[in-house]
Amino acid sequence: MTADNEKKGASRRAFLKGAVAAGGAVAGAGMARAAGPDPLITEVQEWASGLGEGVDATPYGMPIRFEGDVIRRNVEWLTADTISSINFTPIHALDGTITPQGCAFERHHSGAIELKKDDYRLMINGLVDKPLVFTYEDLERFPRENHVYFCECAANTGMEWAGAQLNGAQFTHGMIHNMEYSGVSLRTLLTEAGLEAAGDLSDKWVYVEGADASSNGRSIPMDKALDDVLIAFKANGEALRKEHGYPVRLVVPGWEGNMWIKWLRRIEVTNQAVESREETSKYTDTLADGTSRKWTWVMDAKSVVTSPSPQSPIKHGPGPLVITGLAWSGHGAITRVDVSTDGGKNWQQARLAAEGQSKALSRFYLEIEWDGKEMLLQSRAHDETGYVQPTKNALRDVRGENSIYHNNCIQTWWVKENGEAENVEVS
């Protein structure tokens, strides 16, 4: 590849910046051997002599300024405006599994509203023994649970159905976050209102909606509502962020993010699905013959290599390389992740950083000795049901290219000899 046709995209500049940071030296295995004594060691640095900030400087801190590129990003052309829109978690730069709330993706349909606890009300009505109104303080008096779950937008990777489009794991796979939630089970609240009036519960539904103008109403079958759905008011230890539903949101483990109603204001027990806009016009998946699937709630097993990736190129040259990424499944725990460096010809099992947790992100690592040659990097998740993450072609064989949502295909990064990576499709 010549300099003329190289893209001046994010990865190229990130790569150059990295090279400059390394003193302009050509990246290589010998980099660790300095030409002479390192002044960062031999000379007393300012921070080793003067003083840092006092403990009163930062009552609530932000990341250090050197991490200023680890931020949510918007892709302007995706939506008509930024109010009913999406942004992306910088998964290419994160490690572990817990998503920092401040850079965890947002998806709103009428913007992120400001709703204070004093003004918050939650109603339960419909086929219940006694319709109830709760204040925020009421909710904190119910027995509480803690769980870690991923929230993945149904449209994550949706722009990639017809081909390789966006150049970076943040953009192709960043409509996701993973938090530890504290809250009350929906089962507890439904019990408080009483379900005797509903009779046979097997054919009943709950309709849930938010306090915002879009309302985002969705229908959930009763068996899921009574299983593991949470009314959450804390995430990663603190109150929900405004943009994530403060003060109360629904957590619907394993199911598409649209159903995780934010600013939750009402839960209605019904005889039937309401078939609201968000489960007819949207969040239905059109197949090749023009018919569409509805109620595709579960997010299937999926994974992505977060580094190396287009926004996280290899800057250190050949030698030891950590390949890492994320895997998750709405059906349960991740049991295994395979990684290929040759576009799926051969695979080796990666190492899970911890035992897979049900419906939560898992971190995987594969440590290799990189020979400096091109790679076609892929990862393939397995979940506890025996499901193996499919290729994009395998999904397209079943669905065609127009289903928009639920693209859990295997992602390929083309890692070039210079360490840059690009989003590609392979045969």
């Binding site: 109603m123 339960i124 009505n125 109830l132 489009q165 016009s281 569409s292 193996v388 499709e425």
Partner: protein, 197 residues
């Protein structure tokens, strides 16, 4: 079970409160209030409140949603999904317009306004005549072209068995070619908010 115990938290919702918030309308008409609106009235309301984004004829402006057109395009390469071509139930149109539109000024349309606007959207999709009046009485008589276009999630039958076979680990294919590149398309946003050096 312990969780079946009521704790006596919260208070009973009053009928006025339930009426104020429980506005959803289901496909069988459950929740639909009494009222009516004509195509003619709907056209005026639409031009005043909706057309700036959705166009005078509900055909959509710029990237804003098209509410009409797209008939018989669902199996095309680029389907045009509108109320007429795609939406299975009229209840959804009524419910969504009433609660969440116009964008930025939701819940400002009265019950009769909503009937009229929905009547106009039907007219824009050539589904009713220009003298049509939509009411809670005739609501379920309107036939939506794509009412039968949806199937319940069938992945358990069509995908999970196929994708649960033992995975190949070695020599899984003869050759690998790059068939598509994101950098050629070049639609990824430029880096902003860079780290300070």
């Amino acid at each position: 079970a312990a969780e079946a115990k009521r704790l006596g938290i919260g208070r009973e919702a009053l009928p006025e409160e339930v009426a104020a918030w429980d506005l959803d309308v289901s496909p069988d008409g459950t929740g639909l209030p009494e009222g009516s609106g004509s195509v003619m009235d709907g056209e005026m309301l639409f031009v005043d409140n909706c057309a700036i984004c959705h166009g005078d004829f509900a055909e959509g402006v710029d990237n804003w949603p098209k509410l009409a057109g797209g008939d018989d395009t669902l199996a095309d390469k680029d389907p045009v999904k509108t109320v007429g071509s795609y939406w299975p139930y009229l209840s959804t149109a009524w419910d969504y317009v009433h609660r969440s539109m116009p964008f930025g000024a939701a819940q400002t349309m009265s019950v009769d306004d909503t009937y009229a606007i929905v009547a106009y959207i039907l007219y824009s999709n050539y589904l009713v005549d220009e003298d049509f009046v939509l009411t809670n009485e005739n609501f379920l008589e309107v036939e939506m072209p794509n009412a039968d276009g949806f199937i319940v999630d069938d992945r358990a039958e069509t995908e999970y068995p196929r994708f649960s076979e033992e995975a190949c680990m070695e020599n899984c294919k003869d050759s690998v070619e790059i068939t598509m590149r994101a950098a050629v398309l070049d639609v990824t946003p430029e880096e902003e908010g860079k780290a300070e050096p």
